[in-house]
């Protein structure tokens, strides 16, 4: 058994807004019919989270059920239970048209937290991060700087970012630089 490590190996930058690698994060990418009851039922049993509305991340403790597109979901679970989760999904949806894959090692999970965390994201993405437009639980796929990323708001000052492993270093440094540069006064 190989020794799994996250791309950023727990890197963190302190400051008014902190940027922290969340380490190993179990992630299951699921494509299928999100309106199907059997699909939402097994996703709920794997994550503990209710089915999300479009453009939302439904969170339950350390797990989550995110809406990626009309036919794609992202399930977040502890790293060591991904295999069990996949087995449950494959079992429950056997015979249906779907695809579930373990993408845990293909991605990175970074948390941006602090007083102007929304502006740290707003400066490097085209998404309107004002609290009137982007509320707690909102989940968006877009880009940060030059690369694709998805992010959701878990509380007023905390954002979770998912990106590809190969660009984790770039995204971390981008967010850290944006945090270090300070607030711009858009959302406060």
């Amino acid at each position: 058994m190989s020794n799994a490590i996250s791309a950023l190996e727990g890197r963190a930058v302190a400051g008014d807004v902190t940027v922290t690698d969340m380490g190993l994060q179990g992630m299951i990418s699921l494509r299928g019919d999100l309106s199907d009851k059997a699909l939402t039922k097994v996703c709920k049993s794997v994550t503990g989270a209710d089915a999300p509305k479009p453009l939302q991340m439904s969170v339950a403790g350390a797990s989550g059920f995110g809406w990626m597109s009309p036919d794609e979901a992202l399930l977040l679970v502890p790293y060591n239970v991904v295999r069990d989760g996949l087995a449950s999904i494959n079992n429950a949806l056997s015979g249906q048209h779907f695809l579930a894959s373990n993408v845990s090692d293909a991605r990175a999970h970074i948390v941006v937290s602090g007083a102007y965390a929304d502006e740290v994201i707003a400066k490097v993405s085209p998404v309107d991060m004002h609290p009137d437009s982007f509320a707690i639980g909102d989940f968006r796929r877009s880009h940060l700087g030059q690369v694709a990323a998805a992010f959701w708001k878990s509380d007023a000052n905390t954002f979770h970012v998912i990106c590809f492993r190969s660009v984790a270093d770039y995204v971390f440094d981008l967010l850290a630089a944006s945090a270090k540069a300070g607030p711009v006064g858009y959302t406060s």
Binding site: P54, S69, P70, R141, S142
Partner: protein
């Protein structure tokens, strides 16, 4: 900067989240077609100043292809709509007519 409403996920997507896919509503000419039709399908495109129909992909977002009706001269967007259509729906045409009463595009007007 262009902002297009994605009809699949509901996001008002920034141009940098999108990928342009060229002219919409092309008729595909494949095996068995005449050389002229095949050449036209591959290479001949409209390049209007004014009302145009285009394919766009919400590339950094939900990943879906959709269609947009907009003005190439002013960048005004009349409507975005499902890619599962072979011609602009009536409500899209009405939205264009409301703003550009004398518009035409190929055989459409």
């Amino acid at each position: 900067m262009l902002t297009l409403h994605c009809p699949y996920c509901g996001v008002d997507a920034d141009e940098t989240d999108l990928h342009a896919g060229g002219e919409a509503h092309l008729t595909r000419f494949g095996p068995g077609a005449s050389d002229d039709d095949f050449e036209g399908y591959l290479f001949t495109r409209k390049n209007p100043k004014g009302v145009h129909f285009e394919r766009w992909r919400h590339a950094y977002g939900c990943g879906k292809w959709f269609l947009a009706a907009r003005c190439t001269a002013t960048l005004e967007v009349f409507a975005t709509y499902s890619a599962q259509t072979v011609a602009p729906p009536a409500d899209v045409r009405a939205a264009i007519t409301a703003k550009r009463p004398d518009w035409s595009w190929g055989d459409l007007s």
